[in-house]
Structures are given as structure tokens and as C-alpha cells.
Amino acid sequence: MKFGVLRFPGSCDEVDAQLACERVGEAVILWHGDTDLQGVDAIVVPGGFSYGDYLRVGAIARFAPMMESVIAFAREGGIVLGICNGFQVLCEAGLLPGALLPNQSLRFVCRQVDLVVEDTRTPFTNACEPGATLSIPVKHTTGCWYAPAELHERVEAGGQVLMRYAPGQNPNGSLADVAGVRNEAGNVFGLMPHPEHAVDPLTGSVDGLTLFASIREHLGAHVG
């Protein structure tokens, strides 16, 4: 299978994301100014920064030509994973519920956190053991997930929270310890932690690989 990894002006995690994808399949970089998805089977919107994150994080990036293609791909049911800035971009694009606010501490946080996987029957988590906890790093300044009460209730009721920070480990003050949410249809998922930085024992954990392996497993039967 072939992954496509977006590159914006300011992306800095796209190469790690590409390398993570290449552990389970092929991966190509998709330039923000292009529109051709090159026949990819799944898309990763990576972390870093985009268009200076002027105005609000992710606000300008969502209008990139390539994002128009990503939005169309997602609307047709295509698998899209957003990591950190990619999560912010997908929220701004209306593909994921909620918004990311500055960390409550107003400080940049960079640390390893434990994530509780809430649902292991999804395209993004099927390679996790039920009840699994993943050790994956976070590194962000604007990672406090928020949704108004009514929307938050709907997200919880729909089982859209796929990952939460383990008790006592919430690094940014996010509502209900939310680390990552999916859309209603279940084909788009975004999270603040960086699974692509946890795919090699050299950096302390390979738990992040399970997300990429899950996507591979989910699509495997169809795309070979």
C-alpha cells in the first residue's frame, strides 16, 4: 500500500512520518501546492508548522491546494491521519471535531506520555491489544483539545475519542484528557502525540508503529 505524507512550508516531521509509513508500506511526499494525490491509499498530515501558523494554528494551511484534495479524499471515506499540527489543520478544515487551544501552562511541552487506547476496533488502532497503553512523545505549545459542551457530549457518546492521556499525564489541559479524536464516519483521526517518533527502539519506544500497522492492516486486504 502507498501512504502520502503532506509537506507544508514549515513542516518538520514529514520525513519521520514517511519513514514510519515505510516500515509498513510505501510512502511519497505530497507538496502543499500540488493537487495530485498520486494514487495514495492513505494520507498523513504531519506535524511541525504550516504557513507560519499565522492567525491560528492550521488556519491558513487548510486552504492549501493539496488540502482541497485531502478534504475530497476524506469525504469519500479515504483514511487520513493528522499528527500534531496536522491534527490542528484537520480541525480547522472541519474534518475533525473541536479546536486546539494554547497549553494551559502556556509553555512548550516535550515529553514521553502514556496514551490509553479507548477503542481497538478502528482503522487506526486495530493492531493494539484491547486496553493497551502506548508510550509516545508529545511536543507542542497549542495542544489543549477543546469542544463546547454539546459537541463534547456528542463526541463522547459517539465513541470518537480514540486516545486519552493516562491519568495524571495530561500535558496540556485538554478536555477530559483527550489526546486524539476521530470523525463520525471513522475514517479521519487526529492526535497531538507523535507516533512517527516512536517507531524505533533507539528512541525508547516502538508503540507508535501500531498506528501505521493498523492502517496497513485495515487497508491491506484491499490494496495488497
Binding site: 492567525l55 473541536g98 477543546y146 463546547p148
Partner: protein, 74 residues
């Protein structure tokens, strides 16, 4: 062209750590009697048709999930 201003502020009830930090800093400098500080954003722009500004706010300038805005002629 008309010179316009959009005042963007965190929605009521949303935690505003910037406002809180400023609120704590002022008394430390001897400025007592300051309460409910909120930090937002000012966008100034010249527009041919000010009636389209609300549309621009909803589409790009503001995230209505987390921000309120006010349009004023400057």
C-alpha cells in the same frame, strides 16, 4: 475602501491562560484593582464592501468554536 476593525476575543467560559497570566502580572507590578483580563486579537483591514466582513470572519478570521468577534468601523 473603508477602514474596518475586527476585535477577536476568547469565547466566554473558555480558559484564557494569556489573560490569566496578565492578570497575575499586573498586581505584581503594583497595579491593584484589575479583574477579568482577556487577551484577544485585533485585525485591521480596508474593505470595499464592509457588509461582507461577517462572512470573512466566519470563513477565516475567526474560529467560531472558540472565539467571539465584533466588527467596528475605525
Amino acid at each position: 475602501m473603508t477602514r474596518m476593525r475586527v476585535l477577536v476575543r476568547p469565547k466566554a467560559g473558555i480558559l484564557d491562560p494569556q489573560g490569566q497570566a496578565v492578570e497575575r502580572a499586573l498586581p505584581a507590578l503594583g497595579f491593584d484593582g484589575v479583574d477579568h483580563v482577556h487577551v484577544g486579537r485585533l485585525i485591521e483591514l480596508d474593505v470595499a464592501d464592509p457588509s461582507r466582513l461577517a462572512e470573512m470572519c466566519e470563513a477565516l478570521l475567526v474560529n467560531p468554536l472558540i472565539e467571539d468577534y465584533e466588527i467596528v468601523e475605525s
